[in-house]
Every structure is written in structure tokens, then in C-alpha cells.
Amino acid sequence: MLTPEIYQVQSNTQETPDIFTLVLSPRDKKRAPDFMPGQFTMLYCFGIGESAISISSDPRQPHELSYTIRAVGHVTRGLQKLKKGDEVGVRGPFGSHWPLVKKGSDVVLIAGGVGLAPLHSALLYLMSHRQDYKKIKLLYGSKKPEDVLYSQEMKLWQEQGVEVALTVDVADSSWKGEVGVVTRLIENAISSPKETLALLCGPEIMLKYAIDELLRAQVEQDNIHIAMERNMQCAVGFCGHCLYGPHFICKDGPIFPYTKIHAQLAIKEL
């Protein structure tokens, strides 16, 4: 539980200036563990340490796990340098997952920055169960046009009936889409609020404003689900770093229904 398994790097692709996607397979051609979209694993970079990273791949791929990661600390910068064939440690999967059981509803996925990574896995799941849902919409905000993740894949998603709305904080002359915060896209995206499942992942400030917009658009509180992030070291509720009021983000989360954490979201420095 606290000891990793060894995985091999299959590929390491630079997505944007500071974000990369790592594809890993268990050494000795073993099957990767089953997981559900929204769950995370601890990735260990030799000699540097571990970091909690959400799985961004399709849960139906039995032999690999992929991760889209922002290089921001020692461990993630170490992972960024890995090449095909290098070995790392993986523990998990841990935590709760996106509640992808509400069939027959619209699903709106709202992402900010690298927050699209855990939703990427959910999106792949939704597309493989496309007939179970009505509209699927992705609202995605980035800082700049070059920060937009998975831009090649997006055409495929659109072909499979996913409506994609992008916005950037700062545009350049190449940008044809919206400019501004992602929360501005919400009002127009909600057509049948009582039948909408909303999945959110991004910076905490974005989450708060996005929730306000969803509630204003009359999306049911129970149908809003949020990915939370805190320092996680053990991933099993022992080390205390991810305490968030009454919750351990690692085992009670990282995916929470809004109704379970709305009181905590209002408290500063919790």
C-alpha cells in the first residue's frame, strides 16, 4: 500500500510549454490495475520523491496508464525528463471517482488549465458510453492559446458529438475563440438544468465561481461534482497532509459532490 510497483515509460510527449503526457505500463507486461475516471495514483521519480497525479487515460485500456502533468515541483520536473524505457514507481489507484452513472442526462465538463487531465479520462469514458447520455459539453479555459491541451484530439471528440467551447485569458492574433474566464461559458451551455450532471476540475477560485454560475442556471446541487487538490503523501489517510475540514482528500475525495464540501469551500486557508 505504501510501497510502489515498477512501471516503464512508454512515451513522454510535451503538450504545452510546461505540460507533458506520460504513458506508463507495468514492468513484466503485467496488466495495469482497474481504475475509474477521477482516481489518482502516486508517481515516484527515483531519488526525488512521489507526487499525487490523476490518471487521464481511458479506463478500458488494460495495459497502460497515462498522465498529463504540469511540471511545477521537484517531482513533476523530474518526471518531465523521463524517456521511453525509464522506470518509475506507481502506487494506487486511490480515491473516489467521477459519478458516471447518471444515465440519460446532459453532462457538462468544466475545466481550467491542467484540470482537464482528470476530466480527460471521464470524457473518454463518456464517449465509449455515448448512447447513455444526451448532450456532452466541454467548457475549457486556458491562459493562452498555446496552453490548450489535447487540441489534436478535440476534433475527434467533436466528431463523436461532444460540444467543445474554449476560452483563453489572453488571446493572440491566431485565436478565433472566446476570451475571458471559463465561467462565462456556463450560462449558455446549460439547456436542461434539472437533467444536467456537472463535473468540475481546476483552480479553487475557478471552482467557486463555476459553482455560483451553475446554481444560478438552476443545476441541481446534488449533480455538481468537484475534483479537489491538496498535498498528498501517503494517499491512504495516514499522513494528514490532505485534511480538508472533516475530509481526507485522498480517501474521501478527490472527487466530491458539491453538497458534501460546500461548507468547506467558503472557509479561507482551510
Binding site: 505504501l2 515498477i6 527515483f46 514507481g89 498535498n231 489517510g237 495516514f238 497532509h241 486557508e269 482551510l270
Partner: protein, 376 residues
């Protein structure tokens, strides 16, 4: 009295420790060092701080000579038993590099587990052990090394017939009567012409030791006397926490001004979390060999008073001292209930005594409540 009770003389007690030791247990108990009671290895009963007592107040701890030969005439020092079950530093695993890209397998550490006997465990400390049992065992995971040490543990408990000013176990439902989780529980009785222990039996192992010592069965008068001494002590403790309502109160306290006032005194030293017998936060570090080819993963105690505790993406979530003190107090007395179904505080008072600036949690809880009451 539903459990068997025996009488034990001081000579028989000395033999009791020898018997436990002969059964392969390492004896750990209170000893005298650097003018404090510290838990360490005992060779025999003579290593106990016999004839000593402690005085404790917020930010103050002193040892004094007693005018009798009491074996257990003191209460608690800064040490708690958690150091033996959840050590301050513990190696979790190690791994080697086999080539520039390949790793060998992760070697999980199998610690050599010693059979331990804790001598003179107080009621509040047993409650603390039971709390840590819950923390380290839930439906998703269990802390293997902790459990291996815990399973073999022998607990010789002592009922407190005195307390210090910082004690408040009765209001936390954690003492001073030892009621659970022990093998043997002693109450020391010192009278003009006699000095003996009333021994309650809490397990088969405990029972077999009493048989080996051929202890005399206690009369109900002895049991009543022992109970009375502990009960009198219980009634005498002045500090208290409103354990029934404190959780609810704290969940309304997030914006209280008292947190600012507290932060102006708290020096963020983390002493309270280190002396606390239930605090469980830990950190991990990688220790890398000089040639960079071998790594050990170590776990060590961590405190929510450290900025690094809430580090995330280049900054600390709880960057103010207010928020860190609030985290500790609201967790210990409040959200602990949500997580484990009971309070995280056992009323041992260590955090009060060992706070260098004498912050008293019971007083702070009262002040928070007063501030909230004044608002309504």
C-alpha cells in the same frame, strides 16, 4: 466489579515485572532523566521514579520529591507511548538503480518487531492508543508495522489517584479510571503501615501472571477503596472541556477573532502536536546515497504547524499562523468526530504543559464559545 481483582505487594510487583521480562517482553516505562519523567527501557521496578511527583501548569513542569515511596506518584511527562508504536522515524522501503534507466524491485522494510510491555499506562493514554488504532486501520488501508507492534503489546495500566493542574481526562471521557484495553490495571494504595496494589485483570495473559505470582484475591473493601481513590481524584480535576458541544461550537468558529489573538501568542513551535498522544501526521523523505544509486524512503512525524504541511503547487494553503492553529484545534476537538466517531483529545494536558507560551486549549475553547455567544 466484573473482572477479577487481586492484591499485590511491592515485592510481588517487582517480581511481576521480572516475570513479564522473562516472557520475552521489552519493559518500557517511566524513568527519571533530565529532571523529567521519560519513557524508556526498564530493567526492573527500581528504574521507576519511585518517590517522585510532578507539578504541571501551562508552560511549566517540575519534579519534586515525595515524602513516601510511591511507585506511581507522578502523572505524565512529555513522552507518550506513540513513539514506540508509531516511531518518530521509520524506514518504509528502499530501492536500487540497476542501470541508467532500470530500477531493481522496491524492498519493503520488515522491521524486527520486539515484544513490548508498556508499564504504567494511564487511562488517558489507553484511550490515545485506541484512537491511533482507528487512525491506522480503516477499510481502505492498515499500517502494517504499527499493527505488528500493537498486536504483541502487553499493557500494564495504572489508575491515577492524583492528577496535575493540566489534567482534564474526565471531561473527555478518557479517565482517570482504567476501564478498557489493558492486560493488568493497578491502583496503588499507600497507608500508614501498608503499601500495596489492587490489581484488575483484563486479559488471559494478565490472569496467568497473577496465577504465577499466587496473588491473593482482593476483598470488595479493597476494590472499593481503590475505586474511591480514583473517583476522588476524578472529582478534583478543575479543567474541563464541554466535550458534548465543542464539535458543534468549533464548526461555527472559523471566522472568530480569537484565532488572531491566539496567533499573536502561538510561536508555531509544534510542541503541542509532538507531545500529543494522538497526533498522527507524518512526512516522507527520500534519502539518496552519495553515488545516487540507492534510495531509502523514510517516514517521520510531521506537524500541521509547519508551513510545509499544507504545501501545494508552490505555496502553502495555510500560510497564516491563525489558520494553522485553527487547523489543529478544530481537527483535534471537532472534525476528528466526523472522521473517527470520537474526539481526538484525551485530556492528558500535555499540550498545555509543554506549550512554551502556556496556551491552554481548554481556555481557548471557552473563549471561542464566549465570542460566539456574544454574537448571538
Amino acid at each position: 466489579m466484573d473482572v477479577p481483582h487481586f492484591l499485590c505487594s511491592t515485592e510481588q510487583f517487582d517480581r511481576l515485572l521480572a516475570l513479564i521480562k522473562n516472557e520475552g517482553y521489552k519493559l518500557l516505562g517511566p524513568t527519571l532523566r533530565d529532571e523529567a519523567i521519560v519513557y524508556d527501557e526498564l530493567q526492573s521496578a527500581s528504574d521507576l521514579p519511585i518517590g517522585w511527583m510532578d507539578e504541571q501548569d501551562p508552560g511549566r513542569y517540575r519534579l519534586k520529591r515525595r515524602n513516601d515511596g510511591a511507585y506511581f506518584g507522578y502523572n505524565l511527562g512529555q513522552h507518550s507511548w506513540k513513539q514506540f508504536l508509531f516511531p518518530p522515524k521509520e524506514k518504509l522501503w528502499s530501492i536500487k538503480k540497476e542501470s541508467s534507466s532500470k530500477l531493481a524491485v522496491f524492498q519493503e522494510v520488515e522491521p524486527a518487531i520486539e515484544k513490548m510491555a508498556f508499564i504504567a499506562v494511564r487511562a488517558c493514554e489507553i484511550q490515545a492508543l485506541l484512537i491511533q488504532d482507528k487512525v491506522f486501520n480503516h477499510k481502505g488501508a492498515s499500517y502494517t508495522q504499527y499493527n505488528k507492534r500493537r498486536e504483541q503489546l502487553f499493557i500494564l495500566a495504572v489508575n491515577c489517584t492524583r492528577s496535575v493542574n493540566t489534567c482534564f481526562c474526565p471531561s473527555m471521557n478518557a479517565g482517570p479510571h482504567v476501564t478498557q484495553g489493558y492486560d493488568l490495571a493497578l491502583t496503588e494504595i499507600i497507608e500508614e503501615n501498608s503499601h500495596y496494589f489492587v490489581v484488575a485483570v483484563g486479559s488471559e495473559r494478565g490472569s496467568s501472571l497473577c496465577d504465577q505470582l499466587k496473588l491473593q484475591t482482593a476483598e470488595s473493601s479493597h476494590c472499593d477503596k481503590a475505586y474511591g481513590l480514583v473517583e476522588k481524584n476524578s472529582m478534583g480535576m478543575k479543567r474541563r472541556v464541554d466535550n458534548e458541544h465543542v464539535h458543534e461550537m468549533l464548526m461555527k468558529s472559523w471566522e472568530c477573532k480569537r484565532w488572531d489573538e491566539l496567533a499573536s501568542r502561538c510561536i508555531n513551535c509544534a510542541n503541542c502536536t509532538l507531545v500529543c498522544p494522538t497526533c498522527f501526521c507524518s512526512d516522507t523523505q527520500d534519502k539518496v546515497s552519495l553515488d545516487g544509486q540507492y534510495v531509502e524512503r523514510w517516514q517521520s512525524w510531521e506537524s500541521c504547524f509547519n508551513l510545509s504541511h499544507s504545501y501545494l503547487n508552490g505555496q502553502s494553503i495555510r500560510s497564516s499562523a491563525q489558520s494553522r492553529y485553527r487547523q489543529w484545534l478544530t481537527h483535534k476537538f471537532g472534525t476528528w468526530w466526523d472522521q473517527f466517531g470520537l474526539s481526538g483529545c484525551v485530556g492528558c494536558g500535555r499540550c498545555i504543559t509543554w506549550c512554551p507560551v502556556g496556551i491552554d486549549v481548554t481556555e481557548e475553547l471557552d473563549e471561542l464559545k464566549n465570542e460566539l455567544d456574544a454574537k448571538t
